[in-house]
Symmetry: C2
Subunit: 373 residues, 2 copies
């Protein structure tokens, strides 16, 4: 996997005999801690380099972990009695705070004990707590959540951000998303020179909202220093396209697009199952095509792309779907591992600093300086 | 089909022996007039009540139409030499205006000769020309484009609007979209008491942009007088859901969602074809399951849902996809026919007037009156 060469690797977590430590919040997912531990075990069985610090109710976690051979000697439990539920509002969570498994999981990243944190908990609460404990990276105005999207590209996925950290984004925010998305594409997907697109309702330069036209100029001007290609405006139909690797948008539009895409894939999957259950002949055909259908299912399986990344904080946080099963949790852990091992966090911080400098340079030349570059 | 009972049917087009006249712009689609004429012929063969006024270059149209038996004696040609191309900007189009087939097609609706117009041309140009020739309905601030979305509902489709007429919408605009969408659901899909949802990034009342919270109150308060149910906020994953019939959003978000959904369905379709072409066994299975696969393809076929409706004008305009084939054009014509026959335009105008009155009433009680209802 080719990685960002702009800074030398400087992994942040203590490396124990070449191992990478991931901090896991075992509570708060819809399916409870047993599914999270099962996902950890699946990752551990496949990946000898991985170790865990796991946070939650020790009385529940101890027997679950002891039952899994793959986790023997590779898993430290940190007891935390409180749980952030899906119903908790961010403000409530910050009050009950320090006692929860979510807080404790972030603390391990903050203290440098773990290279990344993974949680299946409440997204709003996790973002609020991450902002409070890890703080925003210097130069970042709005952190973002990036997701992976099945695509026609060789790496199999495109990246879209923001998909819901903040419902607003102005032009300098969108530039930061571009810089952070490019760094994530290099370190998470191994795309050496990512192509960035800005989501709009048309590809013509005169279309769209005022902040998009301004961001179009800013991102175009930053392409060289950010070591990416800027392909300009892209449309909703381009999210899986081979002409772009990273799609930049505000958190409102990105969240609607993400859920629309997931919902459409689910609908087509349901229609397909109904079609094959329709007659004896089609059931027989489904049996014959089993291998192909399974391969297809794997390709569009939302569990495989499980793991939104919080970008723009002092530390890497992976948000797994609340309803993720063991396969989904394992996918989120794999992503956290890949990023922690690549020294992603330090590389991202360096890029953001570059972007801030570029943006400041552009602003000091006046509001419409971007239009002339 | 149950229709809106709030006003008595008053079809606008001259009814010739029970027939309904549709005005068709035969030029300007990506595939040329032969595909449009083929679509008209397919509709005419299935529907004895339909008649056409077709607009475009007579020298091209005459032989295409003479070749189709189904169109014999049911099709009047109006010569128009100019064509609006996909590249034309709305401003250019308005200058060359009167000479084009698009202009001429709208003129037939304006003059009351046809019950609805259908065009495969440039969306921006068609909207600009429709605004100029048909004018906005009294009380409508921003017209909208409504699309159909495959869904789990008995009627097979949900309605989403606006999908691209205007990139902005404030709370009173969103209320108008709700009133217009409800009327379209009644007259176009036969849903007697439509359920309306407002697209947001979460279903909790505290989420989302300020104008959405305000629209939430306005639409909720108008549900009784508008004869619809208001289900509150819905998310991207609910677009095909059975808990809602009409999804209201601004044209920027709606356009991104529409193209994202279409793109995802196309991607899954490609993956499916690749999966079945993978081995001898799977090719054989595909052969066996042919009938089921064809049924599936028909269910997710974007051509079947072809036809965005322009709402909020003095006349019904159906925008077909520029790349529509004969099946797609025929679907758009069928939709135009259904709406023209139901007296949709007059019913919609009555509803908009009601909505404007309700909205004015709410404002006169002060800015946050809606919150208390």
């Amino acid at each position: 996997m080719s990685v960002d060469s702009s800074t030398s690797p400087a992994p942040r977590a203590p490396q124990d005999g070449g191992s990478v430590v991931i901090s896991v919040d075992a509570m708060g997912g819809d399916r409870g801690p047993s599914v999270v531990v099962a996902g950890m075990a699946a990752s551990a069985a496949k990946n000898p380099e991985i170790r865990f610090i796991v946070h939650g109710d020790e009385a529940q976690l101890r027997p679950l972990i002891d039952r899994r051979k793959a986790l023997a000697g590779r898993c430290e439990i940190r007891h935390a009695a409180g749980i952030v539920t899906m119903e908790d509002k961010p403000s409530q969570v910050l009050r009950k705070g320090g006692d929860t498994s979510m807080w404790s999981a972030l603390e391990s990243v903050r203290a440098g004990e773990a290279g990344a944190a993974v949680s299946c908990g409440n997204t709003g609460a996790l973002m609020a707590m991450s902002m409070l404990r890890l703080r925003k990276l210097p130069g970042v105005n709005r952190p973002a959540i990036a997701c992976l999207w099945p695509s026609r590209n060789p790496q199999g996925f495109n990246i879209m951000l923001d998909v819901g950290a903040d419902i607003r984004a102005d032009a300098p925010d969108l530039l930061q998303y571009a810089m952070m998305g490019a760094s994530y594409a290099r370190n998470g997907l191994g795309v050496a020179h990512p192509r960035i697109g800005l989501l709009n309702v048309g590809t013509e330069e005169h279309k769209g909202r005022a902040e998009l036209k301004q961001a179009n100029d800013l991102i175009g001007a930053a392409a060289d220093c950010g070591d990416f290609d800027y392909v300009g405006f892209v449309e909703g139909g381009d999210l899986p396209a081979a002409r772009v690797d990273v799609i930049v948008t505000d958190g409102f539009t990105g969240n609607v697009a993400l859920k629309t895409g997931e919902g459409t894939a689910r609908l087509v999957g349901e229609f397909m199952r109904e079609a094959f259950a329709n007659s004896f002949m089609s059931k027989f055909a489904a049996l014959l095509a089993m291998t192909s259908l399974k391969r297809l299912q794997k390709r569009i399986d939302p569990r495989r792309v499980n793991g939104g990344i919080f970008l723009g904080l002092n530390g890497t946080v992976v948000k797994s779907h609340g309803s993720a099963d063991a396969t989904g949790v394992s996918a989120a852990i794999k992503l956290a591992f890949t990023l922690a091992k690549s020294g992603f966090h330090e590389r991202l911080a360096a890029r953001v600093a570059q972007g801030a400098a570029a943006s400041a340079g552009a602003s000091s030349e006046g509001q419409d300086a971007g239009a002339t570059t």
